[in-house]
Amino acid sequence: MIETLILWGTWGMQRVARLGKCTLFFGEAVGCCLTPPLKWDRVLKQIWFIGWKSMPVICLTAAFTGMVLALQGHPTLRRVGSEAFLGPLVALSLIRELGPVLAALMVTGRAGSSITAQIGIMRINDQIDAIQLMGLNPMRYLVVPNLIAFVVAMPLLAAVFDVVAIFGGYLLGVRVLGLNAGAYFGEMNNYVVIHDILNGFYKSMCFGALIACVCCYKGFNSRFGAEGVSVATTQAVVDASVLVLVWDYLLTALVN
C-alpha cells in the first residue's frame, strides 16, 4: 500500500516538476518577446510556415466540419420545426468552440510536430549548444519567433476555418437540403454577436501560445538519438492537443 502511494506520489511530483519547468520556459520566452532584439525575419518566416502553409488542411477540415454540422443539425431542428436556425447553430458552434479548437488541433499536428522535430534535431546535433556558445540566446532564435507566429497565425486560421465551415454548412443546408439562403444567413446575423467572435479570437490566441510553448519545450528537452526526437514529437502533439481541449473547457467555463 505504502509502496503504491510512493509510486503515485513520485509520478505526481515528476508531473508537477515538469509543469513547473514548462511554465518557467514559457515565462522566459514571453520575457524575450518583450525585450529587443526581436528576429522579425524569422517571425515572418514562421508566420508563413505556420499560417499560410496550414491553409489547405484548415480549409479541407473546415469544409467537411461545416457540412457535417449542417447534416446533423438539420434533422434535429426539423423535428422541432426550427430549420431556419441551422445558420445560427452552425455559426455559433464554429465561432465559439469548433473553429478555434479544431484549427488548433490541425495546426498542432501539421506545424507543431514539425517544429518539435526541428528543434529536437538541432538539440541532438549540438546546434542549440553552438548558438549558446556564440554568446547568443537560443530562445530568441528558436522559441520567440514561433511563439509570436503561433499567436498571430492561430486567430487568422480560426477565422478562415469559421468562414469556410459556414460556407460548407451553406452548401449542404441550402444547396442540398433546400433551406432558404436568406434564412441561413439572416438568422445567423441576428444571433451571432461580437462577444462570440471575440471569445473565439481570444481562445485562438491562447491556443497559439499553448501549442508554441509545448512544442518548443519538448523539442528543447528532446533526448538523444532518433528515438528521442520521435518520442518528443509524439509527446508534443499529444500534450498540446490535450491541453488545448482542457484549456478550452476552462476558458469556456470562465467566460460563461
Binding site: N125, Q127, A130, L133, M134
Partner: protein, 247 residues
C-alpha cells in the same frame, strides 16, 4: 589561462569525472586523450558551462565559470571557439551563411565586410568554392573545415576542439590537424584538443593530458609521453591490447 580544479561529475550514481585537475596556460595547445567514454568531451563542456560540475571548479582567467552571471558567461563564450565533433552546422543555411551567422548576430559589420571576412576564412580552410553548398552536400572533412571557419571568423582567444577528426580518413585527418597547427601558430590561441589521433597530434600540441578512470593520469610533453614508464599510458599510446586497461 584555464584551470580545472578537482572537478567531479556523476550521472545517476555513475561517476564519470572523479577528481580532474588540469592547467592550460595562455597560448598553450593541450591534447586531451583517453578511452572512449572516459569523459573527455564532458570535461570540455564544463569549460564553457554547457555542463555544471557536482564539485570542483573551472577557472578561466581567474573567474569561476559555474558562478558567472549570464552576461559575463555570454562574454566568455564570445571569446571561446568550440568545434563540435558533429560540426553542429545549421542545416538550413548555406556554408556562407553558417560562417556569416556569428558576424551578423554579434557584430555591427556591414554585409560587404561580412562577405569579405567570410570568404577570407573559407579561403584559409580551402573551401572558398563551397560557399553556396548546404551542410548535407559536404563530406565529413569539409564539414569540419566549415565548422573551424565558423569558429575562427569570430577571432576567439581560446579554442576547444571536441574530436574534430573522428571518422575521417588519414589524409584528411593530417590536413585538418595541420590546419589547426597553422591556426594556433598564426593566432597564438589557447586550446584544448580532444582527440584519439595518436601519434598524429604529437607534432601540433605542447602537452598531452590523459584522462583515465575519472582522473588526469598524466600531463606530459609529446616526447616524454612516447617513452612513459606509466603502464596505463604506455598501453594507451602504443595501442597494446594487453595491460592494466581492461575492456
Amino acid at each position: 589561462m584555464i584551470i580545472i580544479e578537482n572537478l567531479q561529475k556523476a550521472f545517476g550514481g555513475q561517476e564519470v569525472l572523479r577528481d580532474v585537475s588540469l592547467r592550460v596556460k595562455t597560448g598553450e595547445f593541450v591534447a586531451l586523450v583517453g578511452l572512449s567514454g572516459s569523459g573527455k568531451s564532458l570535461l570540455l563542456r564544463h569549460v564553457v558551462r554547457l555542463m555544471r560540475p557536482d564539485a570542483g571548479r573551472v577557472l578561466v582567467d581567474g573567474r569561476d565559470v559555474a558562478l558567472m552571471p549570464r552576461r559575463e558567461l555570454e562574454a566568455l563564450r564570445s571569446r571561446v571557439g568550440y568545434v563540435f565533433q558533429s560540426g553542429a552546422l545549421f542545416d538550413s543555411l548555406t556554408v556562407f551563411d553558417n560562417v556569416a551567422f556569428p558576424l551578423r548576430e554579434k557584430t555591427r559589420l556591414g554585409e560587404s565586410a561580412i562577405r569579405r571576412k567570410v570568404l577570407e576564412e573559407l579561403d584559409q580552410v580551402g573551401l572558398k568554392d563551397a560557399e553556396h553548398k548546404y551542410p548535407a552536400q559536404l563530406s565529413g572533412g569539409m564539414l569540419k573545415r566549415v565548422a573551424l571557419a565558423r569558429t575562427l571568423v569570430r577571432a576567439p582567444e581560446i579554442i576547444l576542439f571536441d574530436e574534430p577528426t573522428t571518422g575521417l580518413d588519414p589524409i584528411v585527418v593530417n590536413s585538418i590537424l595541420q590546419l589547426f597547427d597553422s591556426v594556433h601558430k598564426r593566432l597564438n590561441l589557447t586550446g584544448i584538443l580532444v582527440s584519439h589521433e595518436i601519434p598524429e597530434i604529437f607534432g601540433i600540441v605542447q602537452k598531452i593530458a590523459m584522462l583515465h578512470e575519472g582522473r588526469i593520469a598524466a600531463v606530459e610533453t609529446p616526447e616524454s609521453i612516447r617513452c612513459s614508464a606509466n603502464p596505463v599510458i604506455d598501453q594507451f599510446v602504443n595501442g597494446k591490447p594487453e595491460g592494466p586497461i581492461q575492456y
